[in-house]
Symmetry: C2
Subunit: 407 residues, 2 copies
């Protein structure tokens, strides 16, 4: 029998408790032993909770209880969560988490401690919510040299962009609707500004390429600058706008890692990943492209991924999973600044200025707000070039929007 | 160091040898030990082969060599492959395979032998080629009660149907083109008639619901009866036609398992899985729906999945994977005959007859070959009902096509 402690009784933590209870028989069958919840650690009181005496407030009880072999960290953030995770690992317990911020920022160190202690630090739920992605990358695609990973990693922004495309909503209205439906936080900045997607693409890049990427240094553009005009221009270019995290293996042992709204062609499967759903594409030298799709957030989907890790931790109590990556040298992760790609440009500079800067592109325009007034801005897609190479020509224009185009 | 023998040096077998050689360093890193190819067993001569003395013709050499701990069976079929697999397992070696026919027909027995011998029988490549699907189902979704699994499981038929939809090709022409491009065998009957998809949906149902489904008894309809008219009617109904294998958990411990061309709505992600690609949807009580997409066949994608299993077998030499299912009682797997679903019907019976049999449906028609001649057949979608319930009304019409509609 494996005994589990859950740290943090919020949405995900209570979901894990629920899944462990509801699907107990199937979980015991899959783990080949019973898995029981012994403690729920949270400083808050839960008078309505049905878990009774499992509720405690002091983490050190868990830390000192040798019966507990698996600790579930669903506190979030990099404060208490970091402290408790480290202590749990050092106490010889496996830790399972959905905390992408912690894994992205301190995964390298925590995995090293787990290795040292011969226990597991597992985080399937940290990327793609319930979508199986960490395990497929590290196990199912283990025979591949992985060259690229990218995807729609944040459900909130995808919901907003989908509303803008489908209903022609303005960004602010789409955001309000997302908040009303509970798909966006009251302070939605981590999602909107792309930080959440950055944490996730860092974890994916860490695993796919084997070297650590610091989220702090990653080129990150959110969706706050995407306008209804951009959505319409994208449509006329046969594309949709999606916020993508992307990591590409580069020559000379470097990697491109960034987050930005992209134009992606309507015929691609990823362009049809709508609403709060996530989709992640992995490209390897043997498999070609594979895509993983599902609910990227939500109580039960995330709890499903956490619980799969609990089962795995129970099955591998004395056989550590080979999960991990190495430290990277400075300059390992580079931004789109120095890597050739195509860019979508929207500008209200004069046709003459646009023609002088980009003589060969096909301009797309549509009439402005006032009938007969003619277009008041233009959009086009550049040839494949690094931002550094394009800089002087872009600087000659008044740029309204600038997003990469996915090949 | 783990030593491997490959049985059968055809497309997949030679692909596995290639992946083991090309990605040796990454594979050794992921397996935490070197994995070397010791034997290739095939009765044929390969004078051009670069694997030299690894080539042998006598399986008993492998069987009696204690150094070989992992046997890769890529022979195919249920004759020699069955015999060798059994002998390898009984000799205490783990077996890894891409042979869906063997797994579907004898997986129950072979997994029982593997369990008895404390070795592994792994078959990630048997469904969805390179797409990670077996491991995600058995591990990542282990915390879910899985209720349904369905998908485009055969690349050949999907290529043909895609050509019919995109280029308006007739079935025969699309098949010829698929053969010309190497996507269809010279004898394509196992693909066209749906047998290949049936083997795969049986394996998926075995794993998802935990009980054995015999492929022989499964309701199987291929794509030979899909016409260009059906494709056009489907389009007018907002749908595409795709060959799906489908398994649904039913009340009272039974399961619906079948293969048939389906109408699926154009807004579904699966309807955009085109060409030779495969897509598999899994529905669980915690995760909701997840989809797995990628190359369902081909030398390197399939070899990628086989090699992932080799790595797993190496890592679990003394810790058997919990993979398996139970025998089922007679009547466990049922056909669409007795389960309510909606059906697409195409008929050339008179409007009066159609109206008498199905008074409430919306008829779709398009003009016949001769201008002004009016429609010479009609299509409609029935209410949700079992075929048994619809039988008498369908019998009153001359039915040209009859396919289920995916909800």
């Amino acid at each position: 029998m494996a005994k589990v402690a859950i740290l943090g009784f919020g949405t995900v933590g209570s979901g894990v408790a629920e899944v462990l209870r509801e699907n107990a028989a199937g979980i015991a069958h899959n783990a080949a032993e019973e898995i029981t919840l012994k403690y729920i650690v949270d400083i808050r009181d839960f008078p309505e909770s049905t878990y009774g005496s499992a509720h405690i407030k002091d983490f050190s009880v868990v830390e000192q209880d040798p019966e507990v072999t698996i600790v579930v960290e669903t506190i979030g953030g990099v404060g208490v969560a970091y402290n408790f995770t480290k202590r749990a690992l050092l106490a010889g317990k496996s830790v399972v988490t959905s905390n992408k911020e912690l894994v992205a920022a301190h995964g390298l160190e925590l995995l090293a401690i787990a290795k040292e202690m011969n226990v597991n630090y597992l985080f399937e739920a940290s990327v793609g919510g319930g979508i199986p992605i960490i395990r497929p990358i590290t196990q199912c695609l283990a025979a591949n040299e992985l060259d690229e990973v990218y995807g729609i990693l944040n459900g909130t922004t995808n919901y907003i962009l989908t509303s803008m495309v489908k209903d022609g909503a303005a960004f602010e209205d789409a955001l309000k609707e997302a908040q009303r439906r509970g798909y966006a936080e009251q302070d939605p900045s981590a999602d909107i500004e792309g930080k959440d997607a950055t944490r996730k693409i860092c974890i994916l890049a860490d695993l796919c390429f084997g070297k650590n990427v610091e989220p702090d240094g990653v080129f990150t553009r959110g969706i706050g600058t995407v306008t209804a005009d951009d959505v319409e221009y994208a449509r006329r270019l046969g594309c949709k706008i999606k916020l993508l995290g992307r990591a590409v293996r580069l020559p000379e042992g470097r990697a491109l890692v960034y987050v930005a709204p992209h134009l992606i062609h309507k015929t691609s499967l990823l362009s049809n990943v709508d609403g709060v759903m996530n989709g992640i594409v992995v490209r390897g030298n043997a498999i070609g492209e594979a895509m993983f799709y599902g609910a990227g957030a939500g109580k039960l989907p995330t709890a499903s991924a956490v619980t799969a890790d609990i089962i795995d931790a129970a099955k591998h109590r004395k056989a550590r999973k080979y999960l991990g990556w190495e430290a990277s040298e400075p300059g390992y992760a580079v931004s789109p600044e120095s890597v050739p790609m195509s860019w979508y440009v929207r500008t209200d500079s004069s046709l003459t200025a646009v023609g002088a800067a980009f003589p060969k592109v096909r301009l797309v325009s549509f009439p402005g707000e006032y009938p007969g007034a003619g277009p008041d801005h233009y959009a086009f897609v550049t040839e494949k070039a690094s931002l550094a190479e394009l800089r002087s020509r872009l600087d000659s224009l008044n740029i309204l929007s600038l997003f990469p185009v996915l090949d």
